[in-house]
């Protein structure tokens, strides 16, 4: 039997919680609920799990154990979309309408993200730091960009290679989708500024692993630099194919989303001498204070999980969210969060250079040049700028 006093207590509790919940979904006196649809099965399951459970949640555990944000603990809810857009739509609707999340954090991949874009904007739900590089998410009031967008990456890469290193002949091996094509268009535009054109461009269908025909055609065009706009599997395959046919007079250059440890491990010794644009400092070896702290937190909370670029991306996203929510103050609303994030000027994360966000809503605008030496990415430049 429920006693009268406990019923009364329940009633008071409900009444005290309800008005707050009506004002800002996902924000109560004690808690902030945010969530996301991500890949926990399907082709990008590893990345999805690392970003969310070992990245975002890692940082929030640190924050919650230190007392939360203005006394509120952060709780996360994730649903699996297996990279299917319709599942991402269903999950996102459920997060917004059933779980009443305050914001969506770091969903993965262009198709699932684009499928939910209009819905979130219409409902004024912040879409924070989506893990994809196509500029299609630009220009929305409630979207904060995550990964350095492809046109910025392209600008840095061409300015560095054509401007500083005076390279003249470029070719591209790209994945035949939004990711690959957004880079292709950007490369063409940036090369035109130097009066240059691509000498060859070959596409790879998504999910294909044999790239020998494309590599042979690219070799015939004799480029000095060959860009790889691929995912780890085919990217490593292209390097192995190049080694097999003894094509040595070109520099293979990987784009930001490809330059990661997994691609390196898959390619083995074929990766030696490969260059690339890196969007993150080396999560395993970097001495930057933020990266060291990230590794220390990982060791403390998830000792069995190796540090990698995916979990550090999630960790970083959670860090930006926490700082934004802190600046928005105790009276946290969706608009006050967006305004707070827009106000970032030179915010030190210890992982990336000082973060300035502003009206363009872009959190990452830089990368640096790396070269693979003895199986590790060795930095060749300081941070490159894209503005």
């Amino acid at each position: 039997m429920i006693s009268r006093s406990s019923l009364l207590l329940l009633l008071t509790l409900t009444l005290s919680v309800l008005p707050a919940a009506a004002q800002t979904p996902g924000v109560s006196d004690t808690e902030i609920v945010i969530g996301g649809s991500n890949s926990f099965s399907g082709p990008l399951a590893f990345t999805g799990e690392q970003i969310t459970k070992y990245g975002v949640d890692l940082y929030f555990r640190v924050i919650n154990d230190a007392g939360g944000i203005h006394g509120r603990k952060v709780r996360t809810v994730y649903y699996d979309d297996a990279y299917r857009p319709q599942d991402a739509v269903a999950n996102t609707k459920k997060l917004v309408e059933q779980d009443h999340v305050f914001a969506i954090i770091i969903p993965q991949g262009s198709p699932p993200v684009v499928a939910t874009l209009d819905y979130l904007e219409e409902n004024k739900v912040p879409l924070l730091f989506p893990y994809q590089s196509s500029p299609v998410t630009r220009g929305k009031r409630y979207v904060m960009q995550g990964m350095t967008l492809s046109d910025r990456s392209s600008k840095m890469m061409i300015d560095y290679l054509a401007g500083q290193r005076k390279v003249k002949k470029f070719a591209v091996l790209y994945q035949d989708d939004e990711y690959g094509k957004s880079f292709l268009t950007a490369f063409e535009k940036d090369l035109a500024r130097y009066g240059l054109k691509l000498v060859a461009a070959e596409s790879v269908k998504r999910g294909v692993t044999d790239v020998s025909a494309q590599v042979a055609k690219l070799q015939a065009a004799k480029p000095e630099v060959t860009f790889l706009v691929l995912v780890p599997g085919p990217g490593a395959q292209a390097l192995k194919e190049r080694q097999k046919i003894g094509w040595t007079d070109t520099i293979m250059v990987s784009t930001g989303p490809l330059t990661d440890e997994r691609y390196l491990a898959l390619a083995g010794d074929a990766a030696e001498g490969v260059e690339g644009l890196s969007l993150w400092p080396d999560p395993v070896n970097s001495d930057l204070p933020g990266v060291k702290l990230y590794r220390e937190h990982m060791r403390r909370y998830f000792p069995q999980n190796e540090p990698n670029r995916y979990s550090i991306a999630g960790y970083f996203a959670a860090m930006l969210f926490a700082e934004g929510a802190k600046r928005a103050g105790r009276n946290l609303t969706r608009d006050s969060l967006m305004t707070a994030l827009e106000s970032f000027k030179g915010y030190e994360t210890g992982i990336l250079p000082p973060i300035t966000i502003g009206r363009d809503h872009e959190t990452q605008k830089q990368g640096f040049w790396v070269r693979v030496e003895k199986g590790n990415f060795r930095p060749m430049t300081d941070w490159l700028k894209s503005e």
């Binding site: 699996d80 269903a90 299609v136």
Partner: protein, 316 residues
């Protein structure tokens, strides 16, 4: 008794958007769309024993046809768009059904599986029309003066179409055609001996099945609002097969119940993240072990209905 049940069902369907939270209105639309696919697939697999692992491909054709029509010819009323989507898909079903006449069992399953992959490749190659991997955003469709821009308005459209197609399927199953299809399933030789044109009926099953799935695809495009080749992977086809096996082969009620169970299951298991496929698989195996005839026949037995050993042909 049956009238009372039907009236209650209709009242629940009509009142649902006013009683249930918004998300469940969306979910109910998805269930109805999947139910249409399941009925279509059941007419093929349950009635003529032709197993298809390529219905995600048919769904994709209907979805893209409807989406492209909605974008290029926004003045077209939705029923016409859906009808065209169904007819286009039916034509593809005819083209696939004829060469598949020679195939049976596993070989047919392989051919339809390949069909599913071919459709995805075609969407990628026709990127001037489909926008390939970038995906296609589907604008809100029009029905006379109304824009179907809310979950509730789309829900009523889906329910109306689903009701129409369910009634049609029940009628098909009770006519000479339905009995002929069932006869084909039980024994092709016996069916042929009793004057059933085997090739014609098997092809017809393909065409009708594709039509149903194409219409469902059109609704899918409108309800989800975004299409990409990633939407129509082979696992979606497997989900459809799971719906009719769990619900009951050769049963229209079973198709609807199966669609509801699998869709709800998929949705509620999304929160289990990486354990989703494991739990989903375990539930499927368990339900097949304990309800080999599907939920429809299990329900029939529980209700104490007169149950013959093979009541799978029950059409209610």
């Amino acid at each position: 008794m049956r009238h009372a049940a039907l009236a209650t069902g209709a009242a629940v369907v009509l009142g649902w958007p006013w009683a249930a939270p918004r998300y469940f209105v969306f979910l109910a639309s998805l269930i109805a769309i999947n139910a249409i696919v399941a009925i279509g697939l059941n007419l093929l697999s349950g009635y003529t024993n032709q197993l298809s692992f390529g219905h995600a491909g048919f769904l994709a054709i209907g979805a893209y046809a409807a989406a492209i029509l909605t974008i290029r010819a926004p003045a077209l009323p939705v029923p016409v768009t859906l009808l065209i989507a169904g007819l286009v898909t039916a034509a593809v079903g005819l083209a696939l059904g004829v060469p598949c006449l020679r195939l049976e069992g596993l070989y047919l399953a392989m051919a339809t599986l390949a069909f599913g992959f071919v459709v995805v490749e075609a969407i990628l190659s026709l990127d001037w029309l489909t926008r390939g991997n970038d995906g296609l955003r589907v604008p809100a469709a029009r029905l006379g003066p109304w824009m179907l821009s809310t979950d509730t308005s789309r829900y009523y459209l889906v329910m109306a179409v689903a009701a129409l197609l369910i009634v049609a399927a029940v009628n098909i199953s009770r006519t000479r055609t339905g009995r002929a299809l069932l006869a084909v399933r039980e024994s092709e030789i016996a069916a042929q001996a009793s004057g059933i044109h085997l090739a014609a009926y098997k092809t017809l099953a393909f065409v009708v099945s594709a039509f149903y799935t194409g219409v469902a695809g059109g609704l899918f495009a409108l309800v989800v609002g975004f299409l990409s080749p990633d939407s129509f992977d082979v696992f979606l086809s497997v989900d459809f097969v799971a719906m009719i096996i769990v619900g009951g082969l050769g049963s229209i009620l079973g198709s609807v119940v199966g669609a509801a169970v699998i869709t709800t299951l998929n949705d509620s298991l999304a929160g289990f993240q990486n354990y989703r496929p494991l739990i989903f698989g375990a539930i499927l195996i368990t339900s097949m072990l304990f309800m080999p005839g599907g939920i429809a026949s299990a329900l029939g037995k529980i209700a104490g209905a007169r149950s013959r050993p093979s009541r799978q042909g029950d059409d209610r």
